[in-house]
């Protein structure tokens, strides 16, 4: 007797969101099934990998993380261009690390200048990731929505503390917002409701579930994303039907296990390959839970993950 795979009846679909403008604009989302379950549904837009670029030279990066970017690491514009031209980046996430009040606390206008320069230099979609400090981001990301007019950039993380300020400006300047909530389905839904009530268009929202790296809470993010997708696709929960972005690179690369060398601990093996795999395994796990965009650092990890996306979507 021929056995039929029991199919899930999907009643919902993830919304499609366009980021960027012009010929290189990228459409994400649109899934009508669980990630890569193409035997019973469609993913019209395969998940994407975004390269991260920092707004200032990172101080704490491992030698093997700096290596692919050594010649450009002091210049975010050249860095972003290298990601695109040498490593085939389809999107850039500009991480505004230097603006963090707990760090260098660089003034808003200085950072805005960096964003403007990067935006002017690249043709792929730009996503701008703030400091996760609600007050600073309220000011900083508002200005960025303004100076990026026409770019259809994505800005975040937008929280329930600053969604009004950032959301209102994003509406005015037609940008995408990244709604960020701390690993919780209901809080995610709540913030999406707040944003749509404010008037943010439903095709202008990405969700950030808060990402834990491999060995540092990955399983929490994983299960929250699975629950988000279950609610969105099978329980008609329209307020969770948004594409998901995971800002995983900084989480993976700050861990102890990406910093120890083979000399420190021979059992952990070659440090570069191990770190690359920790990043790729984190991304693969997030993708199979429902990520539409994963933010990554090392070109080798990106290649591995793109290869897998290609095979699974073939």
């Amino acid at each position: 007797m021929a056995f039929e795979i029991p199919k899930v009846k999907y009643t919902g679909q993830i919304r499609e969101v366009v980021i960027g403008s012009g010929s290189k604009a990228v459409k994400v989302g649109g899934a009508g099934c669980y990630p890569f379950y193409l035997f019973e549904g469609e993913m019209p837009n395969p998940p994407r990998v975004a390269f991260e670029v920092w707004d200032s030279a990172p101080e704490e990066w491992q030698e093997w993380a700096i290596e692919p970017f050594r010649d450009v690491i002091n210049d975010p514009v050249l860095w972003a261009k290298k990601c695109i031209e040498s490593y085939g980046a389809e999107m850039i996430v500009l991480q505004l690390k230097s603006a963090d009040p707990n760090g260098d606390n660089r003034p808003v206008e200085d950072v805005v200048e960096v964003v403007k320069n990067v935006a002017a230099a690249i043709d792929v979609p730009l996503l701008v990731w703030g400091t996760a400090n609600d007050e600073k981001d309220a000011e900083l990301l508002r200005r960025i929505t303004e100076v990026s007019e026409g770019g259809n950039v994505a800005v975040g993380p937008v929280s329930d503390k600053n969604y009004k300020q950032i959301g209102a400006m994003a509406i005015g300047y037609k940008q995408v917002v990244i709604a960020s909530s701390p690993i919780d389905v209901n809080l995610a839904k709540q913030l999406n409701i707040l944003l749509t009530n404010l008037g943010v268009n439903e095709d202008k929202i990405l969700m950030d579930p808060t990402t834990g790296g491999l060995g540092y809470g990955l399983e929490y993010t994983y299960s929250v994303m699975e629950r988000d997708r279950m609610a969105a696709l099978t329980q008609e929960d329209a307020k969770l039907q948004f594409p998901i972005i995971c800002n995983s690179a900084p989480e993976v690369w700050k861990t102890r296990e990406t910093r120890l060398t083979k000399e420190d601990d021979p059992k952990l093996g070659d440090e570069k390959r191990r770190s690359v795999l920790m990043e790729a395994v984190t991304a693969m796990t997030l993708l199979v839970a429902g990520a539409d965009i994963v933010v990554m650092r090392h070109p080798d990890s990106v290649s591995l993950v793109k290869d897998m996306i290609g095979e699974l979507c073939a």
């Binding site: 491999l214 060995g215 994983y222 629950r227 296990e257 059992k267 795999l277 796990t285 290869d307």
Partner: protein, 447 residues
Amino acid sequence: MALTGIQILKLLPKTNCGECKFPTCLAFAMALAAGKTELDLCPRVSESGRSELSDASAPPIRQLSFGVDDYAVKIGGETVLYRHEKTFFNKPGIGVLITDTMDDSEVERRLAALEYFQYERVGVTMKPEIAAIRFTGSKERFLAIAKHASLRPCSVIIMCDDAAIMKEALDILKSRKPLIYAARPDNYEALGALAKEYSLPLAVAGNGFDEVAALTEKLTAMGLKDLVIDTSKRQVKDAFIDQVAIRRAALVSKFKPLGFPTITFPCDMTSDPMKETVIASLFVAKYAGLIILGDIAGETIFPLLLQRLNIYTDPQRPMTTKEGIYPINNPDENSPVFLTCNFSLTYFIVSGEIENSRVPSWLCIMDTEGLSVMTAWAAGKFVGDLAGSFIKKSGIENSIKHRNLIIPGYAAAILGDLEEELKGWKILIGPREAAHIPGYLKQIRKS
């Protein structure tokens, strides 16, 4: 599948004899329904009741084990499609391929790797468990390798379709309780007979799940229960879909012929060890019972073992770290002292940030029953008097000259009580987020 307690009660003798150690048949039935006890404890259940109940209470995916001692691998027994619905129970066994074309030193390197690449984390040992020995034509080498492996502690999968050679290998390895791979349409009777004779689990390989299901039905009819299934797909996408299909067949359709754990072969899907790890991680998340790798090195196996630990962590129970004092970056008597809770994620993140700061420090972990700082504070488990008495008893005072204690920013409310409790100590309120610890340490160094 699952019967309710009341449905089970109807099949029990209802004598309330108490021999099962439960006060009443109803209590026993409820415990059975919750999977907390076993039917065998009831001496009076009728034959028909027993068979009806054992059918109904059998897990939809057969649970089985092979190997012995520390390397025994228990797989199957899963009850959910998504870990948040309950938990995943038995993590997939991870093995390394050894073939009869490899010379002794290569075989030794691989067997040694199984013993060398072990890692302690949150009180568990993470390690690959299995040597999968594949026959490709040289009987003499194959048996020599079986002999070699039999002297080592690892679990073994014997991979050979020829029943006569399999029997010779089993005679060498039987005390290690190996898994036999694989019964196919042309050899299932002979391998099935061997599995029965040696009381060993048997893997079934067919072309697609229809052929596999037909084989498992035949083998089940022969009286075999412990089966593992392989649909022979060696393209990532096809193998992935089959994993989902088989898990759903067992749990959603209750389709018994596919109610067995699976075996996957990333080793046959790529020759790139980096890609192999990523493929394997996909199968950890999506439903493999066994994962066979082409090779094992620290940089490839460690990320995979860590991911397996994460995915198979029980979401119903917080992971905890042992209470105690953790020295970070070789602290001395002048180094700062941190206090936090024993939720293991908190421990990992806080210790990681302190390490990143490169500032030698003492980290005191207090038992809060796995609750995070704020939750523990709200539950009265991370409060001034408890924290104070923990610090006094911890012995940290013997390791330091100063009396400064940094508490988490989110626990600022315990400051007053803690100062009461710890006379002579200065309590400092640290950052709320662990990510700000390096910056905080820089600051207090300056001042």
